[in-house]
Subunit: 158 residues, 2 copies
């Protein structure tokens, strides 16, 4: 797996909710900012978006919240590409804290390459981006960040 975190952030005090730790939605914001970092890594940065009018839309996201994150934590996100095709990236992310080994969240995200305009249209990746996606996917081979996406259901617990 790509050993280096793709994104790192401290915890904004406004992200703490009445339970005294990171509100669920801000795990999502950190994962969203990490997706921006992944886009930069793959060549779909601000200059690319400006030049091509192409970007990624998130079409699906599944998060497992595994442990609390606190105000003092430094959050690290690792990313993997589990699958891809001409227009889509199926990414996995692990959200952890610098001070401990266990993950705080595991997520899967489906991203779709879109050409923006009056009518946004799904568009294939250009060849250089497709190569970067493929390369990142090869580097990710065998990566697992814990519980993956699944149909949600009440399951009995031991």
């Amino acid at each position: 797996m790509p050993a280096e975190p793709i994104y790192r952030t401290s915890v904004d005090p406004q992200w703490i909710d009445y339970n005294g730790h990171l509100r669920d939605a801000y795990y999502g914001l950190i994962l969203s900012l990490a997706t921006d970092a992944l886009m930069d890594r793959l060549g779909m940065d601000a200059a690319y978006r400006e030049r091509t009018h192409c970007t990624l839309y998130t079409v699906e996201m599944h998060i497992h919240f595994l442990s609390e994150v606190h105000r003092s934590d430094v959050v690290l996100v690792n990313a993997a590409i589990l699958g891809s095709d001409a227009k889509r990236i199926h990414a996995a992310m692990r959200l952890g804290c610098a001070s401990r080994a266990e993950p705080a969240a595991a997520a899967e995200i489906m991203l779709l390459h879109i050409k923006q305009g009056p009518t946004p249209a799904v568009t294939p990746f250009p060849p250089d981006i497709a190569r970067a996606v493929e390369q990142f996917r090869e580097q990710s081979a065998g990566t697992s960040f814990g519980p993956g996406s699944r149909q949600m259901a009440l399951r009995s617990r031991a």
Copy 2:
């Protein structure tokens, strides 16, 4: 299904990203605030949390992003309870805009009842809350908000 939205909000300008519409993470924030509204509705409001030290933790969330939300939109969230047991609520939510019929997102959320303290512990709902959950669940019978939670995968498209 409960016909009335459980939560309603305008779109904060800070929630708009470089793509010119609501950033994925802020769909999640609106769903999180709607979960607070659902907690209020079920009797797990701030006074309850203060009195009992009990609250809900989100353990899993799966969002399908179905259409763009813009700065000028008024967002409405409908909620259903698909399932529950002594300590857990499996909720579904539909995020829509006041100005159009099609949904902007469909989500499922698994919530766990926790007694906070030095060591947070899973705790059964007290009888009055359990009754409120059951009643909301009965009112939700047969509700579907569109694509449900599923294992995420690249699927071929027609």
